[in-house]
């Protein structure tokens, strides 16, 4: 069989534009980021410890699902916010969390 390779016919890789295919994108990291921020604000304002912990979890999940092209600054800011929410809740009220049951 003849060599099927043709060096002359090489085409460059073009990353598929994400705007044209919104259905192909996975919305998980964006949702989790937003959720994380909402929970950290709730935890900070309403002084709810469980909110702050859930925010930490959300930011971790968002990080695990993120695309490599995404901005790390956004991830880091959400992570820092959730950590600060946890720390502030414990500084204001050092009592341990009571379970809901």
């Amino acid at each position: 069989m003849a060599d099927p390779r043709r060096t002359a016919r090489v085409a460059r890789y073009k990353p598929p534009a994400a705007e044209t295919n919104p259905a192909l994108e996975d919305p998980t990291p964006d949702y989790m980021n937003l959720l994380g921020m909402v929970f950290s604000m709730c935890g900070l304002m309403l002084k709810l410890k469980w909110c702050a912990w859930v925010a930490v979890y959300c930011s971790f999940i968002s990080f695990a699902n993120s695309r490599s092209s995404e901005d790390t600054k956004q991830m880091m800011s959400s992570f820092m916010l959730s950590i600060s929410a946890v720390v502030m809740s414990y500084l204001q009220n050092p009592q341990p969390m009571s379970p809901p049951w």
Partner: protein, 482 residues
Amino acid sequence: MKNFYIFIAFLFLPWNFSVAKYNEFEDGDDIMEYDDNDFAEFEDVNEDAVTESPQRIITTEDDEEEATVELEGQDENQEDFDDADAQEGDTESEPYDDEEFEGYEEKPDASHSKNKDPITIVNVPAHLQNSWESYYMEILMVTGLLAYIMNYIIGKNKNNRLAHAWFNTHRELLESNFALVGDDGTSKEATSTGKLNQENEHIYNLWCSGRVCCEGMLIQLKFLKRQDLLNVLARMMRPASDQVQIKVTMNDEDMDTYVFAVGTRKALVRLQKEMQDLSEFCSDKPKSGARYGLPDSLAILSEMGEVTEGMMDAKMIHFLTHYADKIESVQFSDQFSGPKLMQEEGQLTKLPETKKTLLFTFNVPGLGNTSPKDMESLLPLMSMVIYSIDKVKKFRLNREGKQKADKNRARVEENFLKLTHVQRQEAAQSRREEKKRAEKERIMNEEDPEKQRRLEEAALRREQKKLEKKQMKMKQIKVKAM
């Protein structure tokens, strides 16, 4: 004898006084009683002695109780007295031996709980207790986080190993077929990177190009999200498998006009709903491939029977039969434009761009529990892909088939135009208005009054001409109608 009795009586006197005083602190009610009957006690010493001792027992038991209540922080027995008094009472009880009265605590407890309000024991706030045990919820949370991080590292590494195992297995075949294997689009020159592009912790890309017939081939290794613990837990309920998606973009001259798909019935039904080209050109339900010797699990969607006949040659049937468990879907389409786009009504003015494409979706065996060795079993499927590329180039529709295909495409385009007619009219109208507005703006902005007048006149003339043209057209139509 009489003297002896009197002597004993006098001995009891001071003792009785002290008890009386003691009792003063106990029952405010009884103070008056004793004041009046101080000397009444001496009348019946024996009786008093007898009565005094149980009272004494009781009072000391009260003290005991008081002492214990004091520790708890509540005083139910001393509603009328200040804390200072209670403390005094406690100090007075110290000379008494507590051990003597251990067994008696239960009775007064019962009577007191009936008579007085129940004692509420206040808990010491947990953060004042110096024990880690009270923080067990926090420890649980941190353990959960650590477990998540561990799972992230393990999952990421596993996906990485699987991707590289796949690439190592397929490298030779790809390099013998394509001039460019691996490109991330960023480097200036088109040189093979020989590496996978990592898009995600679970998605890896590979672009191959430089072959006869096709423009390029994009391979996407879509692994399961092993790095996300939530996903891992969800997969325990609903098993899924890793997928390899291959998209071959054909040159325009190397593929004829047809739409064809083969795969599992479930996948085809879903694709028919989702994909623009399959929904428009393959209107029938997926047919069973048993007619061509395919296993029952596979079904066929085709634009016309001739295409199916042409595609299902011996070698293709061999591939499909042997690797049926790994094939999810195979789609050959000259009108491929991706999934149906959900657009607002006002936006759709043009048909989406189409490309001649071959799409292959394969499932990695193992249903999630894949090992790097399983990647070797996918190598024959890549051979199938290469074979399909060559086959599609060779396959041409006969005259009838071509006519049918052209008719189908014209029909689809017409439908689309009808749907968008209104939108296109509106778009044209708005464009005309924009032009007029721009003209007026120009006229207004013109500073020189002479020039302004001239431009206005020119605009008026143009409008008049347009009106005349329209009138002519209407007349012509009327004449024709007549």
